[in-house]
Amino acid sequence: MKIGGIDISFRVKQGVPITEFVLHALRAFWPDYIFQNADEAELRENDDPTLWLYDTASTEFFVYRDREAAESWKKNGGIPENQNLMLHFLIDSDSSVPTVAVQFTMVVGELTGDVENFIQDLKRSLRRGATIPSNAVAV
């Protein structure tokens, strides 16, 4: 799948359940979002218990605004109309190096108002909700 887009990265204190945090936050942003693990083809509704029980262990996943957006991505890939209908999340899970923080990356099509507000809210929430030391977060 051709994705493209803008990478937004920052560090989050290790031990924070980032995937769970993001999936909760997205419920307020895109209430009907669809989840896809990066290494699976299956799409999951966001109220599917198997998503929350099992897929919150994921460190790379896609989130589509709704079912229609997911189908459009599957059919057309990263055409301009689809760019802001999907967000791509990556959490650096390299555990070979001891560290106090992990790298969290979001890939977005364009930084429009809604997406930018979401990112800012998410950053703030991750920082505040996880009581991250200020030197552990690159904004």
């Binding site: 909760h24 936050a25 419920r27 942003f29 109220d47 218990p49 029980l53 919150t56 809210d121 909700g129």
Partner: protein, 167 residues
């Protein structure tokens, strides 16, 4: 360990090991069977009541296999705390993605305190769209309060349970 009713004490010990909480046994000296039986009983109560309420069986072994952190969290809460069965069920529901609709806690020094949590039912709930309500006056259940987090989006608060393993 899908059904606690069929598990042996050896199974329970293995479950604690997988959930990184076998150290709980170290504090007990030589006689660990009584504690293992207690954990077994808690698991049995949890599964029986869950099946009665929701007509499905929580699969703890599958959770541990596919999401070690969440599986460990659940077992650590169950084995390490004296939670009521009701609130243990609520943890499972929240781990399964149930949204918090309301939470209230009234603290009264030297008097009864009350915790009330209302969550959205999961898809397929036999009670339809009726919210699930959990209430406790037990101090052990109040420990759960530390696992709720508040985030804000578009100026609105959003509370969610984020249960994590302690070990």
């Amino acid at each position: 360990m899908n059904s606690a009713a069929t598990s042996t004490l050896s199974d329970i010990r293995e479950l604690l090991k997988q959930a990184r909480c076998e150290s709980y046994l170290e504090d007990l000296g030589g006689d660990t069977d009584a504690y293992l039986r207690l954990v077994q009983q808690k698991l049995q109560s949890f599964c029986t009541e869950y099946e009665r309420m929701f007509r499905e069986t929580p699969n703890i072994a599958e959770l541990l296999r596919r999401n070690q952190e969440k599986g460990a969290t659940f077992i650590q809460w169950l084995a390490g705390e004296e939670l009521s069965t009701d609130l243990t069920i609520m943890i499972w529901r929240i781990l399964s993605g149930a949204e918090v609709l309301s939470l209230s806690y009234q603290y009264h020094k030297d008097h009864d305190s009350v915790l009330e949590i209302e969550i959205e039912p999961l898809p397929g709930s036999p009670n339809g769209a009726t919210p699930e309500r959990y209430r406790s006056t037990s101090v052990f259940d109040f420990h759960l309060l530390s696992e709720f987090r508040m985030i804000g989006f578009n100026g609105k608060p959003y509370l969610f349970g984020s249960f994590r393993p302690v070990a």
